[in-house]
Every structure is written in structure tokens, then in C-alpha cells.
């Protein structure tokens, strides 16, 4: 009886561990394998927009294995260099701009009292809850030549003709900022909340100026958060195509947009 209970206890614990492991295997590893397999198969119209690499049809085992896609890459690599450069530049500056905005905000949140801190964190996370497309459209509404900001400035008499803000680098970076800022704020907040006030006071007490305290104490101790946040923003920003497509000019061709035009768009269900 007791032995049986112990067996169940042990078995149950294994099940609890096995379940998430299995999940990770199936839904994280397998998709990656799928993506890799896709690179060796052939494109077709349909959902998904490619043929299976191998399988069992009516005639038994079949395979679509070929290196044609890599051949295409070799043939047309020059077409991809430009967009790749654009994507990397966009991602780099987006990351930098996010960092510049996120750093003082994360600092402010981390130094607030716990009650206000919770409210501010929710505010920072809130945009994640609204549809990203809706957010982008709201931004377009703000930045348009006859949008809110221009109307406001003209109403106030600051400007006579609308400023061109849409379809510029400015509008793209605004969109990136609006989308990725929370990913930068959270890791910065996480390191800043652990930064003891006493360390700052100690540096000031030992004669450091404000800039000195920042450079010798705050910056080195928040560096892990800067690195983590930058990675979190940079990696998805490289593959971003919605924001440049909606906010950028026609000259903006990114790797993500390019890839989407090549593969994904064809199969997006048309209304």
C-alpha cells in the first residue's frame, strides 16, 4: 500500500516533468526542424506554401529534397544584400533609439515607490494587449499630413504647411519604438530594481560627480540589462516587415518584407 503510493508519487512527478519537456520538444524543436526542412523543399501554392520534404503518399515514401532554394540564393544574392543591409541598419538604430528612450523610463519606474512602480509597469505592458496593427494605424493617424499632430500644430499657428512625417525614417522608427520599447524597458527595469541606492550614495559620498556616478557605477552595473534588452529588440527587429511596409516609403525593402513578398503573401487568405 505504502509502496504503491510511493510508486505513484514518483511516477507522477516524472509525468509532471515529462509533459513540459515533451511540449518543448514538439512545439519548439520540431518547428525549427520544419523551418530547416522547408529550405530543402519546393515552393507551391497552398497552405503551407511549400511541398512537404518527405512523406508517405499513395505510392509509398516520396521526397521533394532539392537544393534549388540555395541555388536561388546563390543566383540572386545581390538582390538580398541591399534589403539585408537595410534590415540590419533599421534594427540597429531601432535598438539604439529604444535604448535611449527606455533607459530613463526604466530608471524612473525602478526608483518609484512600489505602488506607482506596479502601475507604471502595467502601463508599459499595456500596448502589448492592443492589436499591433491597430497601434500602427493609430500612429499613422497621428503622423499623417492632416493627422492629429499636424492639425494641432497648424491650429496653434506653429506651422503653416503640414510637416511630412509619414513615410520617412522618423515614422518607421516611431513605429519600431512603439512596438519594441517594452522589450527594452523590462530587462533594464530588472537590473535597475536590484541596484542599491547605497551604491549611488557611496559613489557621491566619495566625491563622484553626477556624470561620474553614472559612468563608474550605474552604467557598468546595468550593462547586463542593456545587452539583454538590445538582443530582445534587435533580433525581432531584423525580421520586422509590417512596420516598414505600413510606415515607410516604397524605397524601404527589408529582409522580412522581401521574404514575405516572396513566400508568405501568396498564401495569405484573401478576403
Amino acid at each position: 500500500m505504502a509502496a504503491a503510493r510511493q510508486w505513484i508519487a514518483r511516477h507522477g512527478r516524472r509525468l509532471v516533468v515529462a509533459l513540459p519537456l515533451l511540449w518543448l520538444l514538439v512545439f519548439f524543436l520540431l518547428p525549427l526542424v520544419e523551418v530547416a526542412q522547408t529550405s530543402f523543399t519546393v515552393a507551391r501554392r497552398g497552405i503551407p506554401p511549400f511541398a512537404p520534404l518527405w512523406g508517405f503518399g499513395e505510392d509509398g515514401f516520396f521526397t521533394n529534397f532539392n537544393l534549388e532554394n540555395y541555388g536561388l540564393l546563390l543566383d540572386y544574392w545581390q538582390d538580398y544584400i541591399g534589403p539585408a543591409g537595410n534590415s540590419l541598419r533599421l534594427a540597429f538604430f531601432s535598438t539604439l533609439i529604444c535604448l535611449l528612450f527606455a533607459y530613463p523610463m526604466a530608471w524612473w519606474i525602478a526608483r518609484s515607490n512600489p505602488r506607482r512602480r506596479a502601475i507604471l509597469l502595467v502601463l508599459v505592458m499595456l500596448p502589448f494587449w492592443t492589436s499591433s496593427l491597430l497601434r500602427i494605424y493609430a500612429l499613422i493617424g497621428l503622423l499623417n499630413p492632416n493627422g492629429f499632430i499636424n492639425s494641432m500644430l497648424m491650429f496653434l499657428g506653429v506651422i503653416d504647411t503640414p510637416i511630412r512625417m509619414m513615410q520617412t525614417d522618423f515614422s518607421i522608427y516611431m513605429g519600431m519604438l512603439l512596438t519594441y520599447l517594452p522589450l527594452m524597458i523590462l530587462p533594464l527595469y530588472a537590473v535597475m530594481i536590484r541596484l542599491e541606492d547605497d551604491l549611488l550614495d557611496a559613489a557621491a559620498d566619495l566625491g563622484a560627480s553626477r556624470a561620474g556616478v553614472f559612468l563608474t557605477v550605474v552604467l557598468p552595473l546595468t550593462l547586463p540589462g542593456i545587452i539583454a534588452g538590445s538582443l530582445l529588440v534587435f533580433i525581432p527587429a531584423v525580421g520586422e516587415f509590417v512596420i516598414p511596409a505600413l510606415l515607410g516609403g516604397p524605397e524601404q525593402i527589408m529582409v522580412g518584407k522581401h521574404g514575405r513578398q516572396g513566400v508568405v503573401d501568396r498564401i495569405l487568405p484573401q478576403p
Binding site: D198, D205, L206, G207
Partner: protein
């Protein structure tokens, strides 16, 4: 000559809370002064005002004759050793200690020389390359001390310097701290909530409560002649008895309560006054048989605890009067009574402290 540190009517409010309340205090050059009080009594706020981290709402602080109102922390001749030390975790021991010297822009050879001297002072020679996280608690405390002393402050503030150390280390460290203070002749102000730490370290103690200084005196005076019940209770163990003065005569006061007590007359008490008597545990003698002296009370042992150095007793006398006393386990001193046995305690009239509250 004016005192080295001159605190005059200093007040600091946080919202509705008065953290420091119209406090005045003078401290002499070279003193090891201790601010003692429970958490929230305002002692740390006062310390931070001296360092310049906290605004002074009203009143003034002068250090070495100069008003500190407009002097920012970095420019004050004051350094602070933080509770939990606040060592920079990303810097080596040497970089931590030299931090203040580098900020001051000292030439490199001088920094190296001063660093060596400081490492020697705190007995950490050769450990300059270590990281703070590799050090023991005691070593970290000494790095913090060296760092705070590096700029040769006129005044060193120490916030709970021994609180993070374990019991055995604390004793060694407090002797060391006093030695360093005496060698450097720097003025030290120590903030602590630990009365034993305060008594062993300080030449003078200021006891704070609710933002006010209740009593400023030497440890011995505070312990033997507390001004009120709070001080008596805060500084070590004490037994209280209550009673009414029945006679004041020839330097002695007679008091009647649950037991009759004769106390030395501190002056100012009259017949009919209600008084509280405070008696320290080590001033009470315990014996199996009555000795026939004054202030002898028959008691029963309620509890006893052997602590090694001494045995602590709790005894009950007539009318449920409870007394705490301590009996040293010295050579020749046999433990006089065991649990639930009866005997007699006695204490000298000079050891009875009369309090009004």
C-alpha cells in the same frame, strides 16, 4: 572654541512624520560618538543629514566651524561607511578603496602609496586584486572601512558597522574599530540599534527616540543612571519595582510597594511620590539564607538559564514581584539555587535607580 560638530535645532519631516525633531547636539573632535535607538527613531536620517544626502528642513549643521547647508555630499569633509557596506560589486578591493582617491584626481603614485597604507591599516595587504564577492563578511567590512577612510575625512559616519557580522566576529571587530579610531584620531559617529555595541564602542552615547535625543552621556552613566524608564529598559536587562515614598531621611529614601525598599537619595523626591525603581541584574545578590542586610527579599526561582559566563535567574518575590538577576560562574562561586528552590535576594541602596515615569 566651538565644538567640532554643532547641530542646532535640526528638524526633518517626511510627510506627516517628524523623523528628526528640533534636535541639538555638540560632538568634540576625535570623539567616538554613538547614536543609539530602535529602528525608525530618526538616527539614520540624522546621519544622512550629516553626510548631505538628506535635506535639513530647519536648523543648522556646522562641521569644523563651517555651515554645511550649501555643501554637497562630495564636498563635505565627511565620509560614510554604509550598512551592508555598499561595496561596488564590479570593482576589485583596490579599485573600491581607491575610488575616492581617483575621483579627487590624485596622481597615480600617490594613489598607489595611499592604497598600500590603507590595506595595511585594515590588515588586507595583498588582497587588493580580490573581488568583493570573494571576501568573508569581516573582510568586506574592513574594505568598506578603508574605502571610507581613503579621503582622510575629518568625520567618519558608520551606519550599523557590525550588524552584518556574526556574533563571534563582532567582538573582535569592535575592538579593532576602536583601535583604528584611536590611531587616526578621526571623529567617528556610529549609528546602531544594538545597545551592547554602543556601550563597548562609544566614548559617549546619544539615545534617540521618536526623533529626539532622550539622554546623552557616557555608557556607564547611561547604564547606571538612566534618566527614564525607556533608557533603563533599552540599555540592557533591568527589573522594575513600583512603590510610594514613605520617608526621605539621611541620604536614603524608603519606598513601600509590593516590597519595602531603601534607596540612595538622588534628591528631588518627597514623601508620597509614586516612583518606579530600576535594578540591574548583576547588582542583585542571590543566597540560600538571609544575610540580614537591607533590601533583602525572600524569593522562589522561577527559571534559570546557564549561559556559560553567567547564570541568569528569574525569581518571584512577595505579591508576584518578578526580578531578573545574573550570577557570574566565577571560580569559587557556586550556583546558589536551582529551579523552584527558595532563597533570598538583596541589593545595595546605591544600586536602586529611582525613576518618575
Amino acid at each position: 572654541m566651538s565644538p567640532f560638530i554643532r547641530i542646532r535645532n535640526v528638524t526633518r519631516r517626511f510627510g506627516d512624520v517628524v523623523a528628526v525633531d528640533d534636535l541639538s547636539l555638540d560632538i568634540d573632535r576625535g570623539e567616538l560618538f554613538c547614536l543609539l535607538g530602535a529602528s525608525g527613531c530618526g538616527k539614520t536620517t540624522l546621519l544622512r543629514m550629516l553626510a548631505g544626502f538628506e535635506r535639513v528642513d530647519s536648523g543648522s549643521i556646522e562641521i569644523d566651524g563651517i555651515d554645511m547647508a550649501a555643501v554637497p555630499p562630495a564636498a563635505r569633509p565627511v565620509n560614510i561607511m554604509f550598512q551592508n557596506y555598499a561595496l561596488f560589486p564590479h570593482m576589485s578591493v583596490a579599485d573600491n578603496i581607491a575610488y575616492g582617491l581617483r575621483r579627487a584626481g590624485l596622481p597615480k603614485p600617490e594613489i598607489v602609496a595611499r592604497l598600500e597604507e590603507l590595506l595595511r591599516l585594515v590588515r588586507l595587504t595583498g588582497m587588493g586584486a580580490r573581488q568583493p564577492l570573494q571576501l568573508s563578511g569581516g573582510q568586506r567590512q574592513r574594505v568598506a572601512l578603508a574605502r571610507a577612510l581613503a579621503r582622510r575625512p575629518k568625520l567618519l559616519l558608520l551606519d550599523e558597522p557590525l550588524a552584518a557580522l556574526d556574533k563571534k566576529l563582532r567582538e573582535d571587530t569592535q575592538f579593532e574599530l576602536v583601535d583604528i579610531q584611536e590611531r587616526l584620531e578621526t571623529t567617528f559617529i556610529v549609528v546602531t540599534h544594538d545597545q551592547e555595541e554602543a556601550m563597548t564602542l562609544a566614548s559617549r552615547i546619544g539615545v534617540m527616540d521618536a526623533g529626539k535625543l532622550v539622554q546623552v552621556d557616557t555608557p556607564r552613566t547611561l547604564y547606571d543612571r538612566p534618566r527614564n524608564r525607556f533608557i533603563a529598559d533599552f540599555l540592557g536587562t533591568v527589573s522594575f519595582l513600583e512603590g510610594v515614598v514613605t520617608s526621605v531621611n539621611g541620604g536614603f529614601v524608603s519606598i513601600d510597594g509590593a516590597v519595602s525598599v531603601t534607596a540612595a537619595d538622588p534628591g528631588g523626591f518627597a514623601v508620597g511620590d509614586a516612583v518606579r525603581m530600576a535594578i540591574r541584574p548583576e547588582k542583585i545578590a542571590l543566597g540560600r539564607a538571609p544575610s540580614g542586610g537591607v533590601n533583602e527579599i525572600p524569593v522562589t526561582v522561577e527559571d534559570l538559564a546557564f549561559t556559560g559566563v553567567a547564570t541568569n535567574y528569574r525569581v518571584i518575590g512577595p505579591d508576584g514581584v518578578r526580578l531578573k538577576l545574573t550570577h557570574p560562574n566565577r571560580r569559587g562561586d557556586v550556583v546558589p539555587l536551582e529551579w523552584e528552590q527558595t532563597g533570598f535576594v538583596s541589593f545595595d541602596p546605591a544600586d536602586v535607580v529611582l525613576l518618575r515615569d
